[in-house]
């Protein structure tokens, strides 16, 4: 049903002015009372109330942050973990536009869209965590360049990478509103945006880890090492790809009306080869973790509660999914791949939280535990992102095929 309405609007759009077309597109498509909507709508409303309180009464009124632990769930999960999951965009664009592997072309748009939205919403979550978000322009407009700060680098890279991803995605917008000439120009900019995007991603994925380099005595020695930036970068590859596999398995079902038969069949093949990349990168990561562990002479910490937790992370959420990915590729089992990708994603969440929250000030007398309001706001950010994602998928040629004229460009 969606397919037909989509083609009708396309035909209309050749006659209608663009703004009228945009207004008509604002109307909701699909059912309103789905289980997801029924759960997410109240959470979002509650989240908005909490955000209003946060701006009226200060961050302390809704969070459990302390003077010793000034960054909590909003940074540790929303930003640091969320950006790792958004790493799929630079990996897939690398495969498609740099290595010219056409096989992955059908998932490149949805991955870039996911990455773009992730950055927009997680950078948005960052603004909630800033004490004075209105001053966020200071390091950008140029009156206060703190160039010796890793956070300065990360902030600029977020901004530039969002622009790069928007350029990468922009042909889909041009196809949606039927702007043929603009489409040609925007498509020509893709390679440049991809090259810039991969360079930026390399630096800020590792930069998020480098943020914590100065917190040397504050992070548990099992997680602190001077190799944090490299570990963050490598783990962003399989974190991003696991997200692509996980999100793909859901999108293929939920938006099955958008996906052509050809692409649906190709998708299984794509997932299988992605699992191969995951196996290799997980192996490299695991190997580096072992090296870091031996290099840091951390043996004495193993037989402590934090040591058991470390072993759980390394064996249960790095080694195990690596074996599962390898095995599932040999067996051509999509179910196993899904399990492996979920385990990998859990492992990334655990790893990032171990550095930013759980292992940060692990020796302090009182521990930081996020308040329920912090969790609700985190869910709000996530749910709104999914709403926007769904809105775009139903309208723009992301999962569906490009209109014929676009392929000729």
């Amino acid at each position: 049903m969606n397919n037909t309405s989509y083609t009708i609007t396309k035909d209309h759009n050749t006659r209608k002015p663009v703004w009228k077309f945009l207004v008509s597109e604002l109307k909701p498509k699909g059912k309103i009372f789905t289980p997801f909507n029924i759960i997410s709508a109240p959470v979002i409303l509650l989240g908005i109330v909490i955000i209003v309180i946060r701006f009226a009464k200060g961050i302390g009124s809704v969070t459990n942050l302390t003077q010793e632990v000034p960054w909590g769930l909003w940074i540790g999960f929303d930003v640091v973990t969320g950006v790792a999951f958004a790493g799929g965009a630079y990996v897939i664009t690398f495969l498609v536009y740099i290595l010219n592997i056409k096989k992955y072309k059908s998932i490149v748009r949805v991955t870039v869209l996911n990455g773009f939205l992730a950055y927009v919403f997680y950078a948005g979550a960052l603004l909630l965590d800033l004490g004075r978000p209105w001053n966020v322009i200071n390091p950008i407009i140029g009156n206060n360049f703190g160039v010796s700060s890793v956070l300065f680098l990360v902030a600029w890279h977020f901004l530039l990478y969002m622009i790069a991803q928007l350029v990468e995605f922009s042909p889909a917008i041009a196809e949606w509103i039927g702007a043929k000439r603009t489409h040609k120009i925007l498509s020509g900019m893709t390679l440049g945006a991809v090259i810039l995007g991969i360079t930026l991603s390399t630096l800020h994925q590792s930069g998020l880890g480098a943020l914590y380099l100065m917190a040397k005595e504050k992070i548990h020695p099992l997680w602190y090492s001077e190799f944090i930036p490299i570990l963050f970068f490598i783990s962003s590859i399989f974190a991003g790809l696991s997200m692509v596999i996980f999100e793909g398995s859901i999108s293929q079902k939920v938006f099955s009306d958008q996906v052509s038969d050809k692409n649906h069949k190709a998708h299984n093949n794509i997932v299988l080869s992605l699992s191969k990349i995951c196996t290799v990168t997980l192996f490299v990561y695991f190997f580096l973790q072992i090296l870091t562990f031996i290099h840091g002479k951390n043996w004495m910490y193993l037989n402590t509660p934090m040591g058991y937790w470390y072993l759980t992370e390394m064996l249960g959420f790095v080694l195990l999914p690596m074996i599962l990915f390898y095995y599932s590729f040999r067996k051509q089992s999509l179910t196993l791949i899904k399990i492996a990708s979920i385990l990998t994603m859990l492992g990334i969440i655990i790893n990032r939280l171990n550095i930013t929250v759980i292992g940060f000030r692990w020796d302090a007398a009182t521990h930081y535990i996020p308040s329920w309001m912090e969790i609700v706001v985190t869910l709000t950010v996530l749910f709104v992102e999914i709403w926007v994602f769904r809105w775009i998928i139903r309208r723009l040629p992301v999962l569906s095929e490009d209109p014929n004229w676009a392929n000729k460009n």
């Binding site: 701006f55 009226a56 009464k57 200060g58 961050i59 302390g60 009124s61 969070t63 942050l65 003077q67 010793e68 000034p70 960054w71 690398f94 536009y97 740099i98 290595l99 010219n100 965590d129 800033l130 004490g131 004075r132 978000p133 001053n135 966020v136 200071n138 390091p139 206060n144 360049f145 703190g146 160039v147 010796s148 700060s149 890793v150 956070l151 300065f152 680098l153 902030a155 600029w156 530039l160 390679l191 991809v194 090259i195 810039l196 991969i198 360079t199 390399t202 630096l203 930069g207 480098a210 943020l211 914590y212 380099l213 100065m214 917190a215 040397k216 005595e217 504050k218 001077e226 930036p229």
Partner: protein
Amino acid sequence: MSVNRRIFLKALGLTGVALGTGKNLGAVSKPDPDKEFYAVLYDSTRCVGCQSCEVACAMEHGLPEPDMEDYPEIGKKRKEDENRRTVINAYDTSVGEVYVKTQCMHCGQPACASACLTEAMHKTEEGPVIWRDPKCMGCRYCMISCPFDVPKFEYHSPNPKIEKCDMCYDRLKKGEMPACVTDCPAEALTFGTRREMIAEARKRMNDDPELYHDYIYGEHEAGGTSYLYISPVPFDEIGFNTSIQKSSYPELTKGFLYSVPTIFVLWPALLLGLNKATKNNQAQEEENE
């Protein structure tokens, strides 16, 4: 915009003396023979724990008057917070009760200032590390980075400030000494240039080696600080973090920051090369077919 940034980082990495860095890394990277950092020497053998410094500090900076019911006691850990920039604690040691005043250490190369992306945290030429209100965006990265956990954040304000000792920078500029130094009745605090204060500390230890533990805390901690401590007992007995590294904290991110311009030059070239190379392969394959 990307070009701007690239030029910035190139300048930072290749010359290593880009404008901002020179300023932020402090005088060690910019030697100026005429200008020395000021410092405060705290002698815990003299301190009587009277809290005059706490009161003087609150008055000077318009902070709420300290609660006099809350005095230093053995076994109770008092901490600086958004309403007090300095506190005194009492410790039970091998030589009896010893008092310790804590506040910002004013590092020579402060982690907080190098962490600050808006240059709100700033190492002044005179030595104090100050926080500049209009620049701050409240990200609290200074708090993450500070090895001494000094900067405090107003969690319950819609327009929050960072509170920390600024060594009474405004008084210093008028030629006055910090308020806590002036008001200390026991002369536990001494003010002067850092070089003088280290010499003074050495002299006291030489004159009375029985009284002092032979160590100046702050001489090498975090690459050297402008608050210097001498004590009758080893510093781990009186609540000091003795695992603080002896080199400066901004040093820890230098390697990463210097690799940035390299990657910015190499990656695009490499990626473009890969793109061209694989394109040729495809064309050949198509020809062969």
